[in-house]
Symmetry: C2
Subunit: 132 residues, 2 copies
Amino acid sequence: MLKDIIKTSKALSDETRVRIVILLMRNELCVCQLMEILGMGQSTVSKHLGILRNAGLIEVEKRGTWSFYGLSRDKANKHNLDFIRILSSLPKNDPFIQNDEKKLIKVNKRGITFCNTIELGRRIRERSNHAG
Amino acid sequence: MLKDIIKTSKALSDETRVRIVILLMRNELCVCQLMEILGMGQSTVSKHLGILRNAGLIEVEKRGTWSFYGLSRDKANKHNLDFIRILSSLPKNDPFIQNDEKKLIKVNKRGITFCNTIELGRRIRERSNHAG
DNA sequence: TTCCTTTATCACGATATAGTGATATATTAT
DNA sequence: ATAATATATCACTATATCGTGATAAAGGAA
């Protein structure tokens, strides 16, 4: 369906969402881990994840209070795999991707711990204020 | 580059632009022919074509006052071919595509003639007003 | 030249989207 | 029950985008 392709294109027309998909190609992540990597507030990240999920690109698995997001294994929208394949063919030396990957490694090393999303959001906001 | 992929995704995140690309997969068309098929004003069509061109998906060839648009043969952005391939794998029975194809055949049959874009735009606007 | 045409671009209004803070819900621990 | 946490959703602002009419630029015919 034309509509499905447009929905997926729209989902991938935002830099933040493409970054999320590329991160999830490596391993699953929860919302607060993505906050840390992306440097964005909890509601922002959650909204982006909703859009990607609605397009069928990613799926969620709840464990306790955490929501773990990963690439969709559902093959309903067969075109989505082609879109993912395009993203996976991106060269690894892209500065954005490299930077995210560095943070991903750090976040993975720490593992899942209580991070207090409200506090974390505040720290993130401060960082970006300092950066200008 | 990540930026290129996002630019192409954004270009294909609009229904009108996807319709244009699918039409141009069949044969080249000028702006006023696309107006007729899409049922949109000249400035709108021209703007969409500019976005698709900026993304490297299509290219233009001027002949006299006419600008003929077709799929880009430039291989600079190698991912664009993958996007085009996704669109070309769409089933032909999609209602939107079928309708456009019908109009494409009619427009092709008529060929290139002076159509007076301002008048044409007025007629198009009237049609859409009648349709609601 | 003057007139008519096609196309690109500008300015505008209406709508859509990104990012945010506050709030609501749900889970877990005490 | 109460407290702390993670997440989703709502309401809001700032910004971006779509579609349009008017205008400008450029080619072709009289």
